[in-house]
Symmetry: C2
Subunit: 286 residues, 2 copies
């Protein structure tokens, strides 16, 4: 947890920055995927695991699987951030770069090679693992009034909301997702998990085209609000937060600050902002 007096002054807030970019593999994803890997049966491990990911879940599963001696395959888009592809390879995963429908490709490879599928967010063990972030946060700052969480397919926010609300239902949990990849907002509006034909954002880590079923139920029950932010605000927030905090955060991680820049959130009391990861393609942001 870090603080920045410059950001506090700018936003008139008392921000606590949960610096998940310093996690192994550079994002929070390792929390859930490590826990999932540890929960696999011997038979599931022997078959080897596979996931599909914009990048951070790929790196995290690759790292966790290597640690556990489990072969890992990861399905990523050909347009993924090169550093995320390189990271997954460096942890020993077999990387399958595909075009078009990532999830269809993931399911096809999983079934064809009889691998153990690990959904990057729609999985109760993954959600539980991410919940540790919420536990740590409340342990360190029990007085926190609001928690701001970047939202892709709903993995992080469902874990964090579950942990936080079960400990203290008075704490507000607010999700932030890109306008151009707003599947969770649309799902909440529709009352059921939706699927987008395409989802693209400078915040590649948030560009999930689906909201998980498990995630949806938890979000519906425990999350107070999900707001949308523009691509410009995501870019501006990334540059702003990097220059003020010296944290090399990825655009997904800047989503809470994008919402503050756009005046989308009313803050009361100490506010935790989750800086979800730091695997960025710097040339795309500057």
């Amino acid at each position: 947890m870090l603080t920045s007096s410059a950001l506090n002054t700018l936003f008139g807030a008392e921000l606590e920055l949960k610096a998940e970019l310093f996690q192994k593999t550079g994002s929070f994803k390792v929390r859930g995927l490590l826990y999932k890997t540890l929960r696999l049966t011997a038979e599931e491990r022997d078959r080897g695991v596979i996931t599909v990911s914009a990048g951070n879940a790929a790196g995290a599963l690759a790292w966790a699987a290597r640690d556990a001696g489990v072969p890992a395959t990861v399905v990523m888009a050909k347009t993924a951030v090169p550093a995320k592809v390189a990271a997954a390879r460096s942890y020993g995963a077999q990387v399958e770069l595909v075009e078009g429908d990532l999830i269809a490709a993931y399911e096809a490879i999983r079934d064809d090679r009889k691998l153990t599928g690990v959904h990057p967010f729609d999985d109760l063990d993954v959600i539980t693992g991410h919940g540790t972030l919420g536990l740590e946060l409340i342990e360190e700052r029990p007085d926190v009034g609001t928690v701001l969480v970047p939202v892709g397919g709903g993995g992080l926010i469902s874990g964090v909301a579950l942990a936080v609300k079960l400990l203290n239902p008075g704490i507000r949990v607010i999700g932030i997702e890109p306008e151009t990849a707003d599947v969770v907002s649309r799902s909440l509006e529709a009352g059921a998990p939706q699927k987008l034909p395409t989802a693209k954002s400078i915040a590649d880590g948030l560009a999930a085209p689906v909201c998980g079923t498990h995630n949806f139920g938890i979000i519906q029950q425990y999350v107070d609000q999900v707001v949308r932010v523009s691509e410009n605000a995501l870019l501006d927030a990334t540059r702003l937060v990097m220059s003020r905090t010296k944290l090399a955060l990825e655009p997904a991680a800047a989503a809470p600050f994008a919402a503050l820049l756009e005046g989308k959130i009313q803050l009361t009391g100490p506010t935790a902002a989750i800086i979800s990861g730091g695997n960025l393609d710097v040339a795309k942001v500057f």
Copy 2:
């Protein structure tokens, strides 16, 4: 102090990263300039202070002076990193942007306006303030074998070397400076402080054209070795360290890693690398 298993593996080292980029004003400079400001007489304070700087000393003096209620003027090059100019202004300093000989401009403005001159590095109080970094380092890791220090005009390394060597003469202190701004190496070779006609580097914070007189004496006595690194190595090291550690460091701060990339340093035992600052012009590095 942070660690990075990726960097340790890459360099076959046990590195302790002293993350000075998280200091107020984004660099170690605030240590020395705050101490200097606190040591001024009432009459010196009343006159107001002036310094000359590539940028980080300017921001640091501006911040320390504001804190102490002292008016500050800072002389910077027209080519200074815009974020560094903006920072000095945001702390309330009067910024004088000049072309040509910065030090001559500084001396002229100082004498003309009867300001209290604060040399950014050739000053015993500034050196003493920087020495606190060495004290902290040895307090936290008394087993450190080598300390790697970015070198500009010699301010940081003279303070750190003094503190470290007085506590434990067995610890090696190694300085790293750009090939294109190697005034300290040249001074050591000549046996007296030298002045360069020009000094330019991607590591703007290290491009001092002079080696301080006080600094020179301390470096000659207490620093084991000063090595030169190429501009390419500084750039590569900045990108490498940012991608592996998620620290948004400036090129000056990457100097220790540039030296490791170029194989200029033999490491033994735990090694502290000072990440001196994080005020970077990202577009110039990526």
